[in-house]
Symmetry: C2
Subunit: 432 residues, 2 copies
């Protein structure tokens, strides 16, 4: 069960070390195996892709691509209430992410100089969706919707075939709702390699997003640079800050919702009220018995869970900034006044009625968030994740002539005479 | 000297392969050496940092930090005309990058729901500046100015000591102009590791930017995730598109300005006019003799240079999009109409009077650009490179109740009953 400790400036650092180490695990054997698969798919294309699919998924479909009819069927045969739930989520996610979209800009100066930045969607993006019990339709929404808003030309989904050789119907449904363009029944490192290089069947993409197991994550890491990737996601985390106004039943439920993800998931409570800490721990025991993933919950709470009693709200804030959690709940009076103090968090949930699953599925902001303390410098997945920018410069002869002396001076200070020459050659018809 | 070829859909692919391979070189020996240095600096801090500095730079200053007086002296003792040149560049760079800055946003709905995205500068950023002949003051401007505009709290520069144990005065001058907060006389992989973990002397940073040799680049790559990095820069590139309106003297000068950077640098001319190709090649021979880095120019032009005669403007555009160059000059009539067609380029230079060095030093857009074809998915360094974002969500009881059914439905479809419980527990006082 979850431990109870008191903030003392020492135990928290130890806990922090434990959390960081979860994200840092690098398995040399996995790296070597994945590098082999990547090299093989690069060299032999579809032949290698089919061999690995048969070997790892137990079955390789004759046609690796899911037909448009099958995708449309997923939509027409689904439970209408479930479709409506996904459509409502889609509407909220679309509305929030549309606010993130940035325009190209241009500065046209009176002297004829034009400077600008063009922003446009990536040409083609690959979306990895795991199979089995980790097949989450919400992941499809959270990745595909910002890509669409960014103006991505084509979204290509890959997902491993199930044991029946078919795709997960909920995943196909989500793909149909979001307007995913093509779906291929391949998974693992071989699917990532196929997207990075292209094969006869699978088209090459510019960026690969979406969660996956250690093989998928390692393949993405190794191929970063050949292709862009979203981020290397570590195990999930929640940090809950609560003062005496909080309801321990709600706190426990929210901590459990994170703990059920994964034995390595982390759920931590910071509170200024020791009684709240004790009651929340008691509630955890009561509520978890009724949940479907109790064994996973027990492992994650005992391994990476803690209730830490703090001396003040500012100590809670300090610890939260130190931990830099993926999800941060502020269950305190006047929660809004904390936002400006919280420097490191992926997504912040404010008040009694913003449980973390609201953000996972429905509210609008993205659920693909930085983990393992990387909220110090990484940001949630966004429309910006799916665009590229180019700057452009137009100068007139007169404007360049005015800048000539300065540019030549800097070029010469750097010892780059050909840089200086490219300016002067335009004004000295006798030169060289 | 530069080769002359004709676009035929085959040679260009071969050339493309050669360009890509330059950026892909991974040296296993270097990786192992760098991993050793990183581990050592992490474990032993300043002690290891001093040992490596003495070993690799031949001298370890007693005080690793450059004093504020010394930085101020660099400004007061510099050539006033040179200072003015840097200040003019700073003004243009500041003006352009200020347009990139994005605000936090908030959506406050009529039902009391609040959704938002907070944007703020990173807490502390490390800026690597190489020593020796690759010490470029312009790099300091291009990295430090967007960081300042982003609201970065502290900029920490590291640069190796020169043979006299002192920093390069032009680098210190640029640091003073840009408001760099602290400067340390360390370089190489050991400096990158010190910034990533912090030592007794060097503070830990959230992101490391700036160019460096293979040891620096490898250290950044290995530490990505522990700290954020800008990008792994490959050798520099220019692609020039020219129609018959172009002046071969100017074209040659611009190609040379890129070729002088590095024996691996690439300078390619695409033109619809064979005569222009031939005259440009003749001009290259004429102009290079007067330049200071002729040996480097010869290597890069013969290794990675080419003049490719195309059958049409649209063939030039197609090839440019395929090559995805770092720098792209459009020296054609009506250059502006090409911008919307050019999908993959770091920075685009339009017309006869926008030579690439204008962008390196002066015009305003950033000169830190994606190389080796990565303009397909990467973007120039920008203010966005120095911010982090958090989303936030506030819901009322009524709004959550309205969303309840949808969220529970999605959670259950994903088999996550604790997610569903975190919603229902708030509305069913009897539950569990």
């Amino acid at each position: 069960m979850m431990r109870l400790t008191y903030a003392n400036g020492k135990d928290e650092y130890e806990l922090l070390g434990q959390l960081r180490d979860r994200g840092e695990a690098v398995d040399k054997k996995v790296s070597e195996a994945v590098a082999g698969i990547i090299g093989d798919v690069r060299a032999r294309g579809d032949e290698a892709l089919r061999e690995y699919t048969a070997r790892f998924d137990g079955y390789c479909p004759e046609d690796l691509e899911v037909s448009r009819d099958e995708i449309n069927d997923a939509l027409s045969s689904a439970d209408p209430e479930y479709v409506q739930a996904l459509l409502s989520a889609q509407e909220n996610i679309t509305e929030f992410h549309t606010r993130q979209k940035h325009q190209s800009f241009v500065d046209m100066k009176a002297n004829g100089v034009i400077l600008g930045q063009r922003v446009r969607g990536l040409h083609r993006v690959g979306l990895y969706v795991p199979g089995g019990t980790a097949a989450y339709p919400s992941s499809v929404l959270m990745n595909a919707i910002p890509a669409k808003i960014a103006g991505v030309g084509e979204i290509v989904m890959v997902t491993p075939p199930g044991r029946d050789g078919k795709p997960n119907p909920d995943i196909l449904l989500a793909a149909a709702i979001c307007g995913v363009d093509r779906v291929f029944l391949v998974g693992g490192a071989q699917a990532v390699a196929a997207l990075a290089f292209g094969t006869g069947t699978v088209p090459r993409v510019d960026k690969i997003v979406g969660p996956g197991n250690i093989y998928v994550a390692t393949a993405k890491k190794l191929l970063y640079g050949t292709v862009d990737i979203d981020m290397i996601a570590g195990p999930s985390e929640i940090l809950v800050m609560a003062d005496r106004s909080a309801n321990p039943r709600y706190l426990a439920a929210d901590l459990l919702s994170q703990a059920e993800h994964d034995p390595l998931a982390s759920a931590i409570l910071l509170t200024t009220d020791e009684e709240i800490a004790r009651e929340t721990i008691a509630e955890l025991g009561r509520q978890k018995a009724a949940l479907s993933r109790e064994a996973i919950i027990d492992q994650s709470l005992s391994g990476y869970g803690a209730a830490i009693v703090c001396r003040s709200c500012s100590e809670m804030v300090e610890l939260a900034n130190l931990i830099a959690p993926e999800h941060l709940e502020v269950v305190c009076e006047n929660p809004m006044e904390y936002v400006g103090k919280l420097d490191n968090a992926g997504s912040i949930f404010l008040g009694q009625y913003a449980p973390e699953p609201l953000g996972d599925y429905f509210a609008g902001p993205n659920h693909v968030l930085p983990t393992s303390g990387t909220a110090r410098f990484f940001s949630p997945l966004s429309v910006d994740s799916f665009v590229k920018r180019s700057s452009f410069i137009y100068y007139t002869r007169e404007a360049l002539e005015e800048a000539k002396e300065d540019i030549v001076r800097i070029a010469n200070s750097e010892g780059l005479s050909a840089h200086a020459n490219s300016i002067t050659v335009r004004f000295d018809e006798q030169a060289l």
